[in-house]
Amino acid sequence: MSLLTVEGLSIRNSSGAALVSDVSFAVAPGDRTGLIGESGSGKSLSALASVGLLPPGLTATGSVRLDGVDMIGAPERRRTGVRGRVASVVFQEPLTALDPLMTAGRQIAGPLRRFQGLKGEALRTAVRVALEEVRLTDTERIGKAYPHQLSGGQRQRVAIAMALACRPRLLIADEPTTALDVTVQAEILDLLDRLVDTHGTALLFITHDLPVVAKVARGAHVMRMGRIVESGPIIDLIARPSDPYTQTLVESARRFDAALGGAEGDSSGS
């Protein structure tokens, strides 16, 4: 059975304009799926709707079932029970995703206390383990640091630690490396890859970047103007795109990739 099943999802704004139309996809336990699209394609809204976190003013219709819970129709109390425990989200900009007035350690402690009932020494240990897991050294200092005292890469590691602290079965990563330098991006992609592998976490990875998604996901859906225009294994989407938009996207990515030629890049796929 799928962990996340989205069927016929449509999202409208307050004036009735369709932002997402009839989107269907599923993520099985341990699966890694990409949602690929450019700004305004509806990829992030689809992901937010999957955890019932649409911004105010937007309404969703259709069916979204996350671990059996109806994330559109169920009361907020039931949906809250699923978030963090079953699925958690890592966003693009860790500076805005983290609370600026709270130390990294306290932010990671939040879900651990709430979902696992940890406190005292056990909680402190769990926070340290979570920081170590995202390959942060000097956990003592980082745990006590506020977000602005950390680098972009460190902040994103803290956000990942927070998202994975309670061992969710699904991690939704919304452009988690777009704001980062390319060397840091490579480290974070590698980290995500290893963590979801170790814990068997399913991954829904949202991005506009084909080479990036090819590194972490196997299958993907290409979105444009609120619709899924093409789905399939990423290798096939890149080798034989059938939809005209996917073709444009692949051509664009190829342009810059080809310009780099045989430079000693990292071409290992997923």
């Binding site: 450019e38 490579a186 071409s267």
Partner: protein, 246 residues
């Protein structure tokens, strides 16, 4: 003759560690130069020095072979213009596109001739009637075209572009890079591109300089710097670029 040159340039804030140390870089007419590096490497600081917005604490910036002094800034502004990363914050939302594009003409006392504005809009692939509209009516890619139109309206010889495509979608990025390439050829515009995107760099620039923690660690022909990098940092940058499988 060298168009723009940083000659053993250093920069430090008062009492601070040096942001740039002993940076020497030359921009020859017609040959686009990429300045590559990560956050905090000093790319933007170097660009500010090259734009004459700040003065180096050591070394000298030269334009047309002569030191860029205060007295020469006016001539320099006519010859060198800039485009920035974010096409949302770099255009005044209350001004029409025509007024925005005419800014350098007014600033340089050249007169805001509507024909020159139409010519600049045409050069970046925007219709002439865009002049009477406002920035919010345009997409990110179109806004970046407006910013480029403003930069080229006074027919500069040099364009200093700070991450001009990194805020744009991939397909838009390709079109803006194509536009910059065509301006390079058709308007004899030499581009100094600050970027962390090596694919964009390889598409647009003949020469590449790699900046790491305030120092130029490698520079030369893009093909050799990216094809056979000699410095470990350049190799690390290249190895980090996600490549298309297959």
């Amino acid at each position: 003759m060298t168009l723009l040159e940083a000659d053993h340039v250093g920069f430090a804030y008062r009492g601070g560690k040096p942001v740039l140390e002993d940076v020497s870089l030359a921009v020859e007419p017609g040959r686009n130069v990429a300045l590559v590096g990560e956050s905090g490497a000093g790319k933007t600081t170097l660009l500010r020095l090259l734009l004459g917005l700040a003065r180096p604490t050591s070394g000298v910036v030269k334009f047309d072979g002569q030191p860029l002094t205060r007295g020469r800034l006016r001539d320099y502004r006519r010859a060198a213009q800039a485009v920035f990363q974010d096409p949302y914050s770099s255009l005044d939302p209350r001004h029409t596109v025509g007024r925005i594009v005419a800014e350098p003409l007014r600033g340089l006392g050249l007169g805001a001739d509507p024909a020159r504005i139409a010519d600049a809009l045409d050069a970046v692939g925007l219709p002439a009637d865009a002049a009477s509209r406002y920035p919010h009516e345009f997409s990110g890619g179109q806004r970046q075209r407006i910013a480029i139109a403003r930069a080229v309206v006074c027919h500069p010889r040099l364009l200093l572009a700070d991450e001009p495509v990194s805020a744009l979608d991939l397909t838009t990025r390709v079109r803006i890079v194509d536009l910059l390439s065509s301006l390079n050829v058709e308007r004899n515009l030499t581009i100094l591109l600050v970027s962390h995107d090596l694919g964009v760099v390889a598409s647009l620039c003949q020469q590449t300089a790699v900046l790491e923690r305030g120092r130029l660690v490698e520079q030369g022909d893009t093909a050799s710097v990216l094809g056979a990098p000699s410095h470990p940092y350049t190799r690390k940058l290249l190895a980090s670029v996600p490549r298309l499988p297959g």
